[in-house]
Amino acid sequence: MLRMRSFLPPLLFTIAYAALSLGVTNSYYQLILTLVPVWAVFGLSWNLLSGYTGLISFGHAAFFGIGAYATALGQIYFDISPWLLIPIAAVLGGIAGLLIGFPTFRLQGHYFALAMLAYPLAILYVFEWLGFQEVTLPIKRDAPIAYMQFADPRIYTLLGLAIMLATIVLTQFIERSRFGMALLAIKQNEAAAEAAGINTLAWKLRAITLSGAIAAAIGGFYAQVLLVVTPQSVFGMLVSAQALTVAMFGGVGTVWGPVIGSVILIPLAEILHAEAGARFPGIQGVIFGFAIVCVILLAPEGLFWKLRDLLRKRIAPKAPASDLPETSAANVTTLKPAPRQRAATGEVMLEVRNLSRSFGGLKAVQDVSFKLHQNEILGIIGPNGAGKTTLFNLLNGFLKPSEGEVLIDGRNMSGQRPHVICEAGIGRTFQVMRPFLRMSILDNVVVGAYVRARSDDEARKLAADAVARVGLSAVADRVAGELSTKELRLMELARAIAGQPRILLLDETLAGLGHGEADEVVAVIQQLARDGMTIAIIEHTMQAMVRLVDRFVVLDHGAVITEGLPEVVTRDNRVIEAYLGKKWVGHAAN
């Protein structure tokens, strides 16, 4: 149902475009109509990697050029038909993606972008050195159709459209699947994605492979349309820039962005070139550049998102009236604070033995040992800088311990990658919230569900279930950008429990909440514990914790200073000293 509905707009768009192009008889307009889907597909391939993962590639021309040259050289030297060569080009592009991605994904941010820039430039010189400065596709007068050489240029447009439709549908499918969710999660916060059980490197490699394959395929088709291949025309900087331009103009991270960008920019550039350029040579570049600058200033995320935001604002005024009452009602009904039996004596779920981690000379965590029992709520407290978050990072694999072990169900898991530890049943939330602002609550939570779910449907079910458990069902369809801090905290909690962990690590979940709000969140956590969850929670505010936890571990300067029941720990002199300083110890005793 959802799939069908999303499949309809691209299909209608393609049919309308095809109808338009069939009605055009001027061969120049036909060529422009062919180039629009070509650059749209190239933009989509870039979007698949860079739009969804946020890792900007300045070097997509590498794949495009490999496809173009494979298609051209295959015809010249092996007399293979482009019908076969374009799929071959896609395979080569995919392999290139894998080979390029594997070393380059070690880099992040700007470093990744700059490293990607190098590949097409390097390959460009290789092709020049090989003597392929100018390659022309041979004319096949006897079997034109077998060699994709049509007398009627409209057929090229239709072929280009077919590739575009296939790419759109593929992108939409990916967008909605575990694949797309993983990529979006990587874009928002790669660390959080790893913690949610996503093997980020594997997904990124899949994305660049697929992206490279699509770019190479459309590069091959482009060679077929242009009939002449030169290193500059397929590996050049302008080619890589073309992908960025159409995607960023239209909107990054959406299937429609590159399509919108291409539909507007490619004909615009040509019209300017043909009309303004004939009178003032060079003016076309100035106007084109100015138009792009304006769009980037007015709609930094691209036209698509700008229009969508405007549209949402139009519709928005009606929505809250119907939504709000339900929300509060839902919160009240589901969250009934109830007493709970303290269970601190069950089976040991997680054991930490002599864990240490130093950063240079600073010993952030020293020789920490404790046990987490089944169905227990363990509070890890300590003043700022005590090493609480570092401890969590050691537990879930962000950091490798310098010494010591982390045993989960008796198995030593220290030094494992975060997504592996997540699969072993440990979920976590973050002190600094990292919601996916443009996605709905439910979609945010689905990301966390994939670690357990085998299918997309199962993931949705698990996510809906998790959303219900934190009491956000009524607002599940709202985008995260509209939520309050409390709702975001609950949503993060839902994302962590959607993966059905047995142990939940909560990092300052109560931070930044008002008094009443904190109580609501506490109630949710208590309910989770009643349902059998084992929880470790970090806080530096003691007040809410005393009512919530079964047992405390107190850290100061990276070491455990004491552990025990809340009533005992709060009266411990060492704890008071750590929190308040020596002179308060005497006061506290009174």
């Binding site: 120049y28 003597g131 400065q133 500059q232 050049g236 019209i271 004939a278």
Partner: protein
């Protein structure tokens, strides 16, 4: 004749945009006394300068033809130049070509498109539209594809190298009294340079008993020429073939040669192509450094073109007439001759006329005839050797076209 001067530039004309040009071009087409000829060259982007010079040559030719009574076989019909911008990429060149054949359907022939990669892409389009195209591009590939509507007026790259070497050797022998034996090649890796260097390496040098002792290929732009020049200095070749495309590379190398005491003819330097003889060279390199540098080009302002050279100077402030101007000037005359022969303003007929024409010795291209072989290459196409003398590159070879005597740098 320029399109820019036809239309007064106001905000309204800018806004009128597309429709204006379309309507205007239809209106002209209806006048039976005009025949439209296309010129598809880069007039924007990094190749705008040579493209503009080509346009100047074409404009001058069209004016001269019309002043002398137009196409007589068509009742004195005037030629009308339609200029299209090929831009600075292969894709833009192809788009412009498609626009040319789609929207200027009454063109009878065209000239273009400067870079051989542009010409290759453009002729893929014009061939399918049966539009004859004359080109000054050298690449052998252009006329190796079995096309019927492309005519190469320059000697191809391979043929140029073949022609040039014996002449250079003869020049050296007569001037210095001894035959050169060793050569060095310094070339950038652009298509035209590679083609020239390749044919020299693969046989031509050996045929002329020359030994290749330094062979270096670089990627423009050069950051530093020191290592290249050091190799030249230690090898001491009798001749240096230097094939740059980018002016800054030429400047860098010539300056470095001078710095190392190899400049101003100590090692005779011979280039291929127009880059080293462009007027822009003088803006960055001093005439003393250039003195004596030779270059082999497909065509150049030469003996018999004095009036044209003078007109180009006064009209467009161009210091001398490069290949781009004179070749494109000649293209218009060849198209005019073909129109006379065809007797009708029809592209297929003009194409047929070009294939079968035999208009005698060439006046504007060096040597040979106005006649094309089966591939579309001009029969007997010669070339010119140009030498920098007192700040001007002048034609010194072949003798029948030379405007000055060559001098061989004294070592």
């Amino acid at each position: 004749m320029r399109t820019t001067s036809k239309i007064r530039i106001t905000r309204r004309t800018l806004l009128a945009g597309a429709s204006g040009t379309l309507i205007a071009s239809r209106a002209w087409a209806q006048q039976p006394s005009e025949v439209k000829v296309g010129l598809l060259v880069p007039i924007s982007g990094i190749y705008a300068r040579p493209g503009t010079v080509m346009r100047q040559g074409a404009e001058m030719a069209v004016e001269h033809i019309n002043a002398q009574g137009g196409v007589k076989a068509l009742g004195g019909a005037k030629l009308k130049l339609v200029v299209l911008d090929s831009g600075d990429t292969t894709e833009k060149a192809k788009n412009a070509a498609q626009r040319m054949v789609a929207q200027e359907s009454d063109l009878v022939a065209a000239s273009g498109a400067y870079l051989s990669s542009f010409t290759l892409a453009v002729t893929e389009v014009t061939e399918r539209a049966n539009l004859p195209v004359l080109t000054l591009s050298y690449s052998d590939l252009i006329t190796d594809r079995g096309f019927k509507y492309v005519f190469q007026t320059s000697a191809t790259a391979a043929s140029q190298a073949r022609q040039a070497l014996p002449q250079i050797i003869k020049l050296a022998e007569t001037a210095s009294g001894k035959r050169p034996k060793t050569v060095a090649i310094l070339t950038d890796n652009t298509a035209a340079s590679i083609a020239s260097a390749k044919s020299m390496r693969e046989g031509l040098l050996a045929e002329n008993q020359l030994q290749l002792i330094v062979d270096e290929t670089f990627t423009p732009p050069l950051a530093d020429a020191t290592s290249l020049v050091q190799k030249i200095r230690s090898a001491k070749p009798d001749l240096l073939f230097f094939l740059p495309t980018v002016i800054s590379d030429a400047k860098l190398l010539l300056e470095k040669m001078n710095e190392f005491g190899l400049g101003q003819g100590k090692v005779p330097t011979i280039s291929f192509g127009i880059a080293i003889a462009e007027p822009d060279m003088l803006q960055t390199v001093s005439p003393e450094l250039l003195q004596g540098v030779l270059t082999c080009v497909a065509s150049w302002g030469a003996k018999g073109h004095e009036a044209l050279i003078a007109e180009l100077k006064t009209r467009y402030k161009e210091p001398w007439m490069t290949q781009n101007a004179i070749s494109t000037y000649g293209d218009m005359w060849v198209i005019k001759d073909a129109l006379e022969k065809a007797g009708k303003a029809d592209r297929v007929a003009v194409g047929e006329a070009l294939r079968t024409m035999d208009a005698g010795p060439s006046k504007y291209y060096p040597l040979g005839e106005i006649k094309f072989d089966q591939k579309g290459r001009r029969v007997g196409a010669g070339m010119t050797i140009v030498q920098w003398q007192s700040g001007v590159p002048v034609t010194v070879f072949p003798p029948e076209l030379a405007l000055a005597k060559p001098f061989w740098p004294k070592s």
